[in-house]
Symmetry: C2
Subunit: 175 residues, 2 copies
Amino acid sequence: MKLSPSMERYILHWGEMGSRWGVNKSVAQVHALLYLSGDPLNADEIVETLGIARSNVSTSLKELQSWDLIELSHVMGDRRDYFEAKTDLWEMLLTIIEGRKRREIDPTLSVMRKLVIEAREDPDLPKTARKRMEKMLDFMESTSGWYDQMSRLPKPVLTKLMKMGSKVSKFVKKG
Amino acid sequence: MKLSPSMERYILHWGEMGSRWGVNKSVAQVHALLYLSGDPLNADEIVETLGIARSNVSTSLKELQSWDLIELSHVMGDRRDYFEAKTDLWEMLLTIIEGRKRREIDPTLSVMRKLVIEAREDPDLPKTARKRMEKMLDFMESTSGWYDQMSRLPKPVLTKLMKMGSKVSKFVKKG
DNA sequence: CAAAGATTTCTGTTTTTTCAGAAATTAAGA
DNA sequence: TCTTAATTTCTGAAAAAACAGAAATCTTTG
């Protein structure tokens, strides 16, 4: 696939952004390419287009699949795998948040829970430190719980809530 | 400063988490230490406690200050700088989001805006690709704008909204 | 079941990031 | 102003991550 100048810039920029957010550059580039591409691409087309090693593309595709950000498809009479990116951006964002939550936040929460239990019977732990650990755990639990509820709302509702912006605060009871 | 076992585990875990989110391990550890510590610490105390190089601590403290996550304080008759972490977790979260937005999202938005303008006069760019770039820009602009509004709400309102969870959806007009 | 096609895993190199120690700079006090 | 304390910047070594190419494995088809 031949890249036009603006596609190229988009993909390169996406790679840089990925790196900053802890996403491998190749993974981010492959995803950007699949997002821009109208039709599904196979691994070799990605190799040609991005000029990175075959092994790299393979690993990146696996990674993107494990994040549920791309989907497999096939072409009649062609046994190679083709891939395409989800294009609904709400779904994409929620998928990414969901993934990071499951892989990073949830394990942290479980470490924190153990730590707080330990902390309560650690005689050398200053009271302030214990309180702060508890406060952190509590904050993380409630933020996480809030996200779970919001993510289950239908997309149109989320869209409308977003359009309302700070007007939602009108519905918060005062007192 | 002497660390109790649970403090030590907390700090080490925080360092690991930081790395995954693109934050330098030392920076995350220094922040965790200051968060747990009841009173302000100076650079040398941090060096002793965490066992990392002086230069490292210096760099990390500068970084944390530039993120506005720690504050400087002083002790009478002691010319060294002392540091303490903000302990309000809402404020901390908003500060972090604000920082990443300013340093990473806003620049991306400006790249995207230029790119979309370019895209409109790029004859080699497939229509689908152009549409998707526009959709992405639009989504990022509105998400970013929404965050700006929400971040300006008073903390108690945010807290209440969070407690409401998915009940906020009741206020979304149907139709 | 062999041969070719497609994909994944392994291995070593390159690149990037982290970080300690030294040197340099800045600031305070005599 | 000179001395000493405190901090920051610089430099190179060590560790980690990214990545290409080769080898191995798995799959399909004749």
